[in-house]
């Protein structure tokens, strides 16, 4: 919302610079988030008097003027400056605006269609004669249109006075400062210059000068000329109307146009400009109808029962849904109430009689209408926030008077003021000074708080004689936001100054044991672990297009069993790319990989923690119908980053399945998540993962998958992508809490190591073979079995492969013998032969 400094200070003038004034408003709750200067800069332009005019000896079209410019500080007038001038109207004795040497003017460029360019006035020689400055026309200064000659000022102009000051003294200041106020929705009272002035006056103790307006009496000639009926009093609690007749609707006077242009409004004609002026003066939206076009001399406020089409003032045909409040004449709608008037009754330059509407419309009804019409106007903005429910007559009378004054019309005596439910009861709110001090942490006296409340119009503080005590305060009608004690406490706080609320030396801490969710503490550890292992953390968009979401939804991934059924769609997203929520993290990681590949990165090692979403048939969810969980994604593609300069630095093979599985196992081991089951699966199970392992916890809860990303899903990427996506909550749950780990002293008796190489069918799963070894019954001394070699080829036979394990045997409390080891070793070999068709490699 734009507020003009000059306009504002018509009502409250605390004598502050614009910057200090902005600071005061900001710290008082009306945040000024921009300060803009309007109008030309007249810095350096002063009033001079032409003392002498003589012809230029060497130029017919120029004269030389001696111009007195006053004094520059030493108390005696300076020598007059010699200035060459080509204007036809220059004459001795004139007071004129002079741009002194060094002044920068935005001069119209004759060759460039009058576009203005900065020019610095310098002392020059013109055909052998000095010229020290420039006598300016109104057009050159940007303060008027007249370019035919120099601007001649009034004779009482003070020589040496800055021109800006001279103009301001005459109510025609060409410069203004405009504040852009970021008005919060709770402050409709401040949506006008008077409203802001009220706060400014309260914050600075400056007096508030509200224009005096003589309020008309209800009835009279006006009531005979026009009738108003309110059919829907809930939507339109009040409708006041005034008539001005016999106007000549030309341009508004310059001062009025200047007020409007300063705040960014386009002047139209005197009547419209006057109603706009009053709207921005006091916050009450007004509408002016051409009374000749109000059929039947009747106004009816009624709620539409069907769709209504009306061409609004902006020339657009608009259709409002049933339920919209309409302003109608005897035959047809003439306005969408509170939003915009109709073209059919618009005021034009030919208008002679004007009907001024000043109403109170219910905020929620205007809001719904404005939304349905897709139209937000200065009027709807104020109505939906709630205008002063008692300010209608003042505003109408102010506008009528102004219109009459500037158009030569006459205000018709009397007033129509329909208010079916009568004036509203004044709202009373209990206020307890002790409570205010307790909430704010202040130590203000009751009388000081009373003074602060009074400064913004909160009056009538009667003591309440009940247990709670306190005072009963009467809230002014222009403050619909003040409904509870806390609202008054805020008024006290902001008027006293938030910066004056003391910061206590101690802040209390409730006696509660501090807790941290494991999902959080472990997440931090795993992030560090993965970054330490060479992965980069990414943050991808939760949103994607619907087809992509559909594609990545597929694959039951252990989720189907939970009733997680479909993609989550957003309603009315502003772009297709935001039409759905990610069902898993993988698509975001693939996007990040593509982006980086396109920017020359080959090594792609990413991880991300994030929420994923699905529709769900379960009703017990936090939000019924939706399933959401946090996932951990790891995705690898492309060659490993070269880290060293010699062979021992490791190879740079492209990431493969075992790299991804290795990262997962690294995480599981770090978390102490023992007993995680890994079930191989092939292409059928998940269209996004060509093959991989399905993980579940020792307790059987689905944990996620690790595998090779389907090539179509990874389209556009040069190297295969391997990824794991795990349910973070389940994994954190499966982690063995460190504090529950118990120390087991190392065994003191020596261990015996044996290598076991067996030849098994090529299709035998190494994991299953290893499990047989590890779980072998009858081999209680076996402590560890580590697979250290896999070999297929010469010497092991076709269709066979060799698996080599390092076995470690050890007893708890004694030294074991070679014989004992032999017995267990043979038992393992025979179990492997039975279960895996294994034979010892010779």
């Amino acid at each position: 919302m734009k507020i003009s400094h000059d306009w504002l200070t018509d009502y409250a003038a605390p004598g502050l610079s614009p910057e200090a004034l902005a600071e005061t408003l900001t710290m008082g709750g009306l945040e000024v988030d921009g300060i803009e200067r309007t109008g030309p800069s007249l810095e350096g332009v002063v009033v001079g008097r032409v003392e002498r005019v003589r012809p230029h000896p060497d130029a017919d079209r120029l004269v030389l003027c001696d111009v007195a410019l006053g004094e520059s500080g030493n108390g005696t007038p300076d020598e007059p400056a010699q200035i060459a001038c080509g204007a036809p109207n220059v004459a001795e004795g004139q007071h004129v605006p002079v741009a002194s040497v060094g002044t920068e003017l935005m001069l119209p460029d004759g060759e460039n269609g009058g576009e203005r360019r900065p020019v610095t006035i310098e002392a020059v020689e013109l055909r052998g004669e000095r010229s020290e400055g420039m006598i300016c026309s109104a057009h050159e200064l940007g303060v008027g249109e007249d370019a035919s000659g120099i601007l001649v000022l009034e004779d009482d102009a003070r020589i040496g006075q800055p021109l800006a000051e001279y103009l301001a003294d005459r109510g025609a200041a060409p410069n203004d400062t405009v504040f852009n106020i970021d008005l919060t929705p709770n402050r409709p009272d401040a949506a006008s210059h008077l409203g802001v002035a009220r706060d400014l006056a309260a914050l600075t103790d400056a007096p508030l000068e509200r224009p005096a307006v003589e309020l008309p009496q209800e009835g009279g000639e006006t009531a005979e000329a026009v009738s108003v009926e309110i059919e829907d009093a809930a939507a339109c609690p009040r409708y006041a109307a005034l008539l001005v007749r016999g106007i000549e609707n030309g341009d508004a006077p310059a001062w009025l146009k200047q007020r409007l242009t300063a705040i960014g409004l386009q002047p139209r004609n005197a009547v419209v400009d006057a109603t706009n002026f009053v709207l921005h003066e006091c916050g009450q939206p007004l509408h002016a109808f051409d009374f000749e076009h109000i059929r039947g001399d009747r106004i009816i406020a009624r709620t539409a029962s069907e769709e209504t089409t009306l061409t609004t003032l902006d020339g657009t045909e608009r259709t409002a849904p049933p339920g919209t409040l309409l302003i109608c004449d005897a035959e047809r709608p003439v306005a969408f109430a509170g939003v915009m008037g109709g073209r059919n009754s618009e005021v034009s330059r030919a208008t002679t009689d004007v009907l001024i509407e000043s109403a109170y419309f219910a905020p929620s009804r205007v809001r719904r209408a404005a939304k349905a019409l897709g139209l937000s106007t200065d009027a709807s903005y104020r109505f939906e926030r709630g205008v002063d429910s008692d300010g209608q007559v003042w505003a109408a009378a102010r506008a009528a008077r102004l219109i009459a004054e500037i158009t030569g019309g006459a205000v018709v005596e009397g007033l129509v003021d329909e208010r079916p439910q009568g004036p509203p009861e004044p709202r009373r709110v209990r206020f307890r000074p002790e409570r205010a001090n307790a909430v704010l942490g202040t130590d203000l006296s009751a009388s000081e708080m009373g003074r602060l409340l009074t400064s913004v119009g909160i009056e009538g503080r009667d003591r309440i004689h009940d247990d709670a005590g306190g005072f009963s305060c009467v809230v002014p009608t222009f403050r619909p936001d003040l409904t509870r004690e806390e609202d008054l406490i805020e008024e006290v706080a902001r008027l006293h100054g938030y910066d004056r609320i003391p910061a206590p030396a101690h802040v209390p801490l409730p006696a509660r044991p501090p807790r941290e969710e494991r999902t959080r503490s472990l997440r931090r550890r795993v992030r560090e672990l993965l970054a330490g292992a060479g992965l980069r953390e990414i943050q991808t968009n939760s949103m994607l297009s619907k087809p992509r979401a559909q594609r990545f939804l597929a694959g039951e991934n252990g989720d189907g069993a939970r009733g997680e059924t479909g993609v989550v769609e957003t309603l009315k997203p502003i772009s297709e790319a935001m039409a759905a929520l990610r069902p898993r993290l993988l698509p975001g990681a693939l996007d990040a990989m593509r982006f980086n590949q396109n920017h020359g990165q080959e090594t792609l090692r990413f991880f991300e923690f994030g929420h994923v979403f699905r529709r769900s048939s379960q009703r017990e969810a936090t939000v019924p119908g939706y399933a959401e969980h946090e996932a951990l994604l790891v995705a690898l593609s492309g060659p490993a980053q070269a880290t060293g300069w010699d062979d021992a630095s490791g190879d740079e093979h492209a990431a493969d399945f075992y790299d991804a599985k290795g990262v997962v196992e690294h995480v599981l081991a770090h978390l102490g998540a023992d007993g995680v089951e890994m079930e191989p699966f092939g292409a059928e199970a998940d269209p996004n993962v060509a093959y991989g392992l399905r993980l579940s916890t020792a307790g059987g809860a689905p944990l996620g998958v690790v595998g090779k990303v389907d090539e179509e899903a990874a389209a556009g990427l040069e190297h295969d992508v391997f990824a794991a996506e795990l349910r973070w909550g389940t994994l954190a749950e499966a982690a063995a809490p460190r504090r529950e780990r118990r120390y087991e002293p190392p065994r003191r008796f020596p261990a015996v190591e044996r290598d076991l190489a067996v030849v098994v069918p090529e299709a035998a799963a190494a994991g299953a073979v290893r499990r047989t070894v590890e779980e072998a019954e009858g081999a209680p001394l076996l402590r560890e079995a580590r697979l250290f070699d896999v070999y297929a080829g010469e010497g092991v036979g076709d269709g066979r492969k060799s698996l080599a394990f390092e076995l470690r045997f050890q007893a708890e409390a004694r030294t074991i013998s070679g014989d004992e080891v032999d017995i267990e070793f043979e038992r393992i070999v025979s179990l492997l032969a039975d279960e895996h068709d294994a034979e010892l490699r010779g």
């Binding site: 929705p185 704010l440 938030y498 292992a533 935001m578």
Partner: protein
Amino acid sequence: MPEAPDAVETLRREIEAETIESEEEAEAFRIAYLGRKRGKIGALFDRIPDLDPEARPAFGKAVNALQDDAQAKLEAARERLADEEGDALPELDLTLPGRPPAPAGSLHPLVETLDEVSGIFERFGFSVAEGPEIEDDWHNFGALNFPPDHPARDMQDTFFLEKHENDESDERLDVVLRTHTSPMQIRVMEEGEPPFRVVVPGRVYRNEALSYKSYCLFYQVEGLYVDEGVSMGHLKQTLALFARSFFGDDVRTRFRPSYFPFTEPSAEMDVWWETADGAGQWMEILGCGMVHPNVLEHAGVDPEQYTGYAFGMGIDRVTMLRHDITDIRTLYENDVRFLRQF
């Protein structure tokens, strides 16, 4: 035998001509010139008694100076030798780079900032709660004192989701992507008894066009403290201390009135942010206030007995500020050339 003064000069020249290239030569030099018994300088001292009494002081002084110079030459040589000895290098080229245990990884600056902010409040005794990103209207708006059809709802461009089929009638069950982390205020209060002292880090959503300054989602940290006797002074102090911890001890903050439906009084905190060219401006970094009594009532907490404060801070913005990032989309693009800088 030369005259005594000449002898000093001769010896000086001799000493100056000596070179000391090893520890052995150094020792030989010491014995030859500075040795107590047979040193050549000592021998000059021995000649003093033979001189004229007037000549003795000048001669003694000259010999002393020579002794100091010889001593200095010896020490300088030994120091140089000790340095040179240290330079005896093994066969390895020690200047080759080390072999890292793994290639460099990185942590995302947004998550790091989110953790840092939450961490500071954890040290102030706040617990951490995390909540769902899909919320119902009641927790995101209604319980937080956003009336239906109220302009306050325009402050947040909301993503709506399809309502669960059976709940068409109940407006409270409209489904949204949370527009702030504040719904967790309600969930936390619904699930326990006061006091509550908790921060909520998390992702929130706004249905806005993407540009350098707005993205469809961002991170917030919400804070809530409800207890007996909590005041706005406590809020101010806690946030001022937070700012000093996060931005540095010399940070300037200001606290000014604002509006949020769920707090009353409401405030915003600005920090004075200086740019490289020395210019500065107030930057709004968080919104806060005393928990609105309607909110406490909605969550089943008696507002007469308990008061509380709440605050919410955008994480993307401070991350951008502190790292000189000017386009918010950079944070979600995952360019390795960006990631590797953190």
